[in-house]
């Protein structure tokens, strides 16, 4: 969407996608692709929990195929989506699908528990919110809100005066502009989370600088979809 409440021609004609449903198919591909990006490596094993409408009407919409396709790194217009389970097998990705009640969440919600080729693992909860748009709600039990339309930095740190400023100063020095920013904390002085969506992608050197800052526990850089 363009400015709030104002659509543009390509909101009405597009996206180009493999059917049948923008929310249950195109959105599901993007959720899988986003989970793969958050894992940050080739997934080899995973459990996929389907909630609500994803569980009830997912089969007829190819939601399961779409989620696998996304985990393999495909885009919503990739015509190999119907063959995704076969391709997953070829690439050594083992998945099990289960129906689950994920609580008071959007009807089109999925939870991934993924294991990567190099041993990394991550839990991701995301929802397909209509028209192919998605939002990642949870990473490793931390509440987040990531839509995948910007490069995103997820930083776990100590809640202390100046920590956020150090990070934003580094970004400013690297000429990286912040489009959206959200901060939250478990409690005062405890673990805190900052999510920065930026106009430019941060490079590895920049990431290393942030990781070396004091009171930073973990840094995750997620490219846009």
């Amino acid at each position: 969407m363009g400015a709030v409440g104002k659509s543009n021609v390509f909101d009405l004609l597009g996206p180009i996608m493999v059917g049948p449903s923008s929310s249950h198919t195109a959105g599901a591909v993007r959720l899988g692709a986003m989970a793969r990006k958050i894992l940050g490596e080739e997934p080899i094993q995973g459990t996929v929990l389907l909630h609500g409408s994803f569980a009830k009407t997912g089969k007829g919409h190819g939601t399961d195929l779409a989620l696998v396709a996304g985990l393999l790194g495909m885009a919503p217009d990739d015509e190999r989506i119907p063959m995704a389970p076969l391709l997953a097998k070829e690439r050594g990705l083992n998945l099990s699908f289960q129906i689950a009640d994920l609580g008071d969440v959007h009807p089109n919600t999925v939870k991934f528990a993924l294991l990567g080729k190099h041993g990394g693992h991550v839990d991701v909860v995301g929802s397909s919110i209509g028209g192919g748009s998605i939002v990642i709600r949870e990473i490793n039990n931390f509440q987040v809100e990531i839509r995948g339309d910007y490069p995103t930095l997820v930083i776990l740190h100590q809640d202390l005066a100046g920590v956020i400023a150090q990070v934003t100063l580094l970004l400013a020095t690297a000429q990286i502009n912040i489009a959206r920013m959200r901060v939250s904390r478990e409690k005062r002085g405890a673990r805190a989370l900052m999510i920065l969506e930026t106009d430019q992608m941060i490079d590895q050197a920049g990431l290393d600088l942030i990781r070396e800052l004091p009171r930073i526990y973990h840094v995750l850089a997620i490219g846009p979809l």
Partner: protein
């Protein structure tokens, strides 16, 4: 709030096509050149054309097995010369079914405005192309006209079945296609507004009650009827028939009706065809 009437007046005052007014508006709002916008629209047109061809030539079934192979039946009858309603209309029906079937069978389509209503625009565009030998440039321009109607609908009402029922999806697609067909056939900007209004009025109140919650029954066939309504509305407008209620007010009425339609009839599969004995049987049998 944006109004289609404003664009009609601007087009009339400046002696431009309605599509040219919408194109200028979008160059400004998206801050992109005419060339870039045309290129992006061209990508849509190419996929639309491919989806028609794929649907007419293939024999596929959807995941549920409920839909598929109907486009070929209609196209076959058209080619045999026995069509009851004529070559052009049966061609439009076949094309709309073709694209909607491709969508239901996990093929590639352009959401126009949604995936569930993706067959209407390609059917109408390529039917008019066959009838009038219009150039690709004119087709691309007319896509801006279609999108322009859609933008007004999205801003003033909705193009989502979950929010407004089927009238918001196939109804919107029919209104968009009707306006574009008028422009392609040489009608005036004012006539595009009348065509869109007539098409939308014919779809008011249509609920979204898909069997099993799938984009199959009745969605695929409604793409075909939606395309024919668009062509009928365009024919009336090109003949000088006027809509008594202006397009912007028809759109507002559609939005209001959408709010009044109960939730059971807005893409939840809890009413209408979805809960008929047969609808329930299909759902249980498949899911």
């Amino acid at each position: 709030m944006r109004a289609y009437e404003d664009w009609v007046i601007e087009a009339e005052t400046k002696g431009m096509k309605i599509s040219e007014v919408i194109l200028r508006n979008q160059m400004e709002e998206l801050d992109q050149s005419e060339q870039v916008l045309f290129q992006r629209m061209h990508t849509n047109l190419v996929v639309m054309r491919e989806s028609v061809e794929a649907g007419l030539s293939g024999n596929r079934r959807s995941l549920s097995g409920l839909v598929g192979e109907d486009a070929a039946k209609v196209e076959g009858r058209r080619k045999s010369g026995e069509s009851l309603i004529g070559d052009r209309m049966s061609g439009a029906i076949a094309k709309a079914l073709a694209v909607a079937e491709v969508n239901a069978c996990m093929g590639k389509i352009v959401a126009a405005p949604t995936a569930g209503s993706c067959g209407v625009l390609p059917a109408v565009f390529f039917t008019v192309e066959d009838a009038r030998q219009v150039s690709e440039h004119e087709l691309l321009l007319a896509l801006f006209t279609a999108a322009g109607i859609g933008m007004i609908i999205a801003d003033r009402a909705s193009v989502s079945g979950a929010e407004g029922g089927c009238q918001a999806e196939i109804g919107s697609a029919a209104a968009m296609a009707a306006a574009a067909a008028v422009e392609l056939a040489g009608g005036s900007p004012r006539q595009t507004a009348h065509a869109a209004a007539i098409a939308m009025k014919s779809m008011l109140g249509l609920v979204c009650d898909p069997v099993g919650g799938l984009v199959e029954v009745p969605c695929v066939k409604r793409n075909a009827t939606g395309a024919t309504i668009a062509l009928v509305a365009a024919e009336m407008a090109l003949s000088g028939v006027r809509s008594a209620i202006p397009i912007d007010e028809v759109i507002d009425a559609m939005g209001a009706i959408g709010k009044q339609i109960p939730c059971a009839l807005k893409e939840t599969a809890q009413g209408g065809l979805a809960v008929t004995p047969t609808g329930r049987r299909i759902q249980v049998g498949f899911l």
